[in-house]
């Protein structure tokens, strides 16, 4: 009897102690079960300067994207006679990107160069900070982009087979947001094409893209990308000299719009064109100015009245 009461008192004392929690420790015990969430945007937009980023469109968002590459700043085609290339448009692009889900984006676009029509599918496989324990270190996105050259052939033999008008670009993209300011990306890729001039120029062209973003302020970033192509499986001594595309730019976000002001040696905008055909170099005035305007529209809005926005 005595032993029993002692035991019970002891037990009660312990339980009493357990219950005497502070708000802090109780809150901690509740929030410990919540794992880290995926990190905020690694890049602001689906593209960096020339290359794709790991970002996709948000579900039901439509992005109207207008891109422009001007002419050579210097050299034979530049200087004051063309107002440093501003008189010339080596390529123009208009495209629409649509988020079917937060992870899957479908797009259609058209470039001036080659009258190229583009379509791509982009899927976000992994997100940094995601997973069961929030320990996924990278963003991984896969991209498949098709190009169709719609222009008339330059020579009678150019598109002897209609299939020669098509090219396919496949690219897994890996990125990581290292800090609030710095995000880096690497993307190996392969371009399948038929429309090759030099017999020694491989139809299936390997490349590796490197890209990065450095945020200068919350809404202004320095962006850059470089694609290594020549010297991989493509000889560097072809009859036509090709260069690796390098683009640098300033990206300005204004809430709904993203503007970027860029300089690059690549004349063309779509991967299906610029990966294989960049013939200008940063040396000898081959660099040009370009810009991107991206405007986002939310097509289907939430029906939840508690979060509806009202514009007067």
């Amino acid at each position: 009897m005595i032993k029993a009461t002692t035991l019970i008192s002891f037990a009660l004392l312990i339980t009493g102690g357990v219950y005497a929690q502070s708000a802090d420790s109780l809150m901690k015990s509740m929030t410990d079960t919540v794992k880290a969430r995926t990190i905020n945007s690694t890049f602001k937009s689906t593209h960096i300067v020339l290359s794709h980023s790991t970002e996709t469109e948000k579900k039901h968002d439509l992005d109207l994207r207008i891109r422009h590459h001007f002419g050579d700043i210097g050299g034979e085609f530049g200087s004051a006679h063309t107002l440093y290339g501003l008189d010339v448009a080596t390529d123009l692009f208009i495209g629409l990107d649509y988020g079917i889900t937060d992870k899957l984006t479908v797009s259609i676009g058209r470039s001036k160069h080659d009258e190229l029509f583009n379509g791509y599918l982009k899927y976000k496989l992994l997100e940094q900070g995601g997973g069961k324990n929030g320990n996924i270190p990278l963003n991984v996105t896969v991209l498949g982009q098709m190009g169709w050259i719609a222009r008339a052939p330059f020579t009678t033999t150019e598109f002897s087979s209609y299939a020669n008008r098509f090219s396919y670009f496949l690219q897994p993209i890996f990125s990581r947001k290292f800090s609030q300011r710095l995000s880096l990306q690497i993307a190996p890729s392969i371009l399948f094409r038929k429309n090759v001039v030099d017999v020694r120029d491989p139809e299936n062209l390997f490349s590796i893209g490197f890209a990065g973003r450095f945020k200068l302020t919350k809404r202004l970033s320095f962006i850059a990308d470089y694609t290594l192509i020549n010297g991989l499986n493509r000889p560097t001594d072809l009859s036509q000299q090709f260069y690796n595309p390098l683009g640098v730019g300033l990206e300005i976000e204004t809430g709904g719009h993203v503007f970027s002001l860029n300089f690059m040696n690549s004349e063309y905008i779509s991967e299906n064109s610029f990966i294989a055909n960049t013939q200008k170099s940063w040396k000898h005035g081959g660099v040009r100015f370009g810009f991107t305007i991206s405007r986002n529209f939310t097509l289907f809005k939430s029906k939840n009245k508690d979060i509806q926005t009202k514009i007067y």
Binding site: A20, R37, K218
Partner: protein, 186 residues
């Protein structure tokens, strides 16, 4: 002698029993407390909502605590949500907003009724903590606690910058509403 020992033990037992019951403060917790944000300007009204807020009440001391996961707020436009997280709240750096304080004076948490209260404590938003006294209402009914409050948060108080160069207009003072129920935690 044996009798005395017995009485003594019984005394210890009853004291412990009494102590344990008095220490056994009743704690109330809620995990799906709703938080609404409202920003109003002559150009645009913006609303956001989260129902993932945790709330804790220690009835003995009148302590209250709220923890709001910033990334759980939903907006009508996903892009707006992204901007809220990335540009304004910097939720990678400051994942939660919180309030810690006490209801003054403490109320009788077991007696059904409506209690208008003041919660004195500190509000942490965007990593900046400010002392605040927030008025609200507590309703006790059958052991369930319902809380509701509405208060304003000035962006400037918490170093939340609103730049000039944005197309979306955001108010300098954001209204916050908190509503939810807490149940006895066993």
């Amino acid at each position: 002698m044996n009798n005395l020992k017995k009485t003594c033990k019984l005394l210890v037992f009853s004291i412990t029993l009494f102590l344990s019951f008095s220490i056994q403060a009743q704690n109330y917790v809620g995990t799906n407390v709703k938080v609404n944000l409202f920003s109003s300007t002559p150009i645009e009204d913006i609303k956001a909502q989260s129902n993932k807020t945790n709330a804790v009440i220690i009835s003995k001391t009148g302590e209250v605590a709220f923890q709001i996961p910033i990334k759980s707020f939903e907006f009508e436009k996903k892009l707006m949500q992204e901007h809220f997280n990335e540009n304004y709240m910097e939720s990678d750096k400051y994942p939660t907003a919180s309030f810690k304080g006490a209801v003054e004076p403490n109320i009788s948490w077991t007696k059904d009724g409506d209690y208008p209260v003041l919660a004195k404590g500190s509000l942490t938003v965007h990593g900046i903590t400010k002392p605040r006294t927030i008025s609200g209402n507590i309703k006790v009914q059958n052991g369930t606690i319902s809380i509701s409050t509405s208060f304003d948060v000035a962006c400037v108080d918490h170093n939340i910058e609103i730049p000039m160069l944005v197309f979306t207009k955001i108010a300098k003072v954001i209204n916050v509403k908190i509503n939810g129920t807490l149940n006895l935690k066993n």
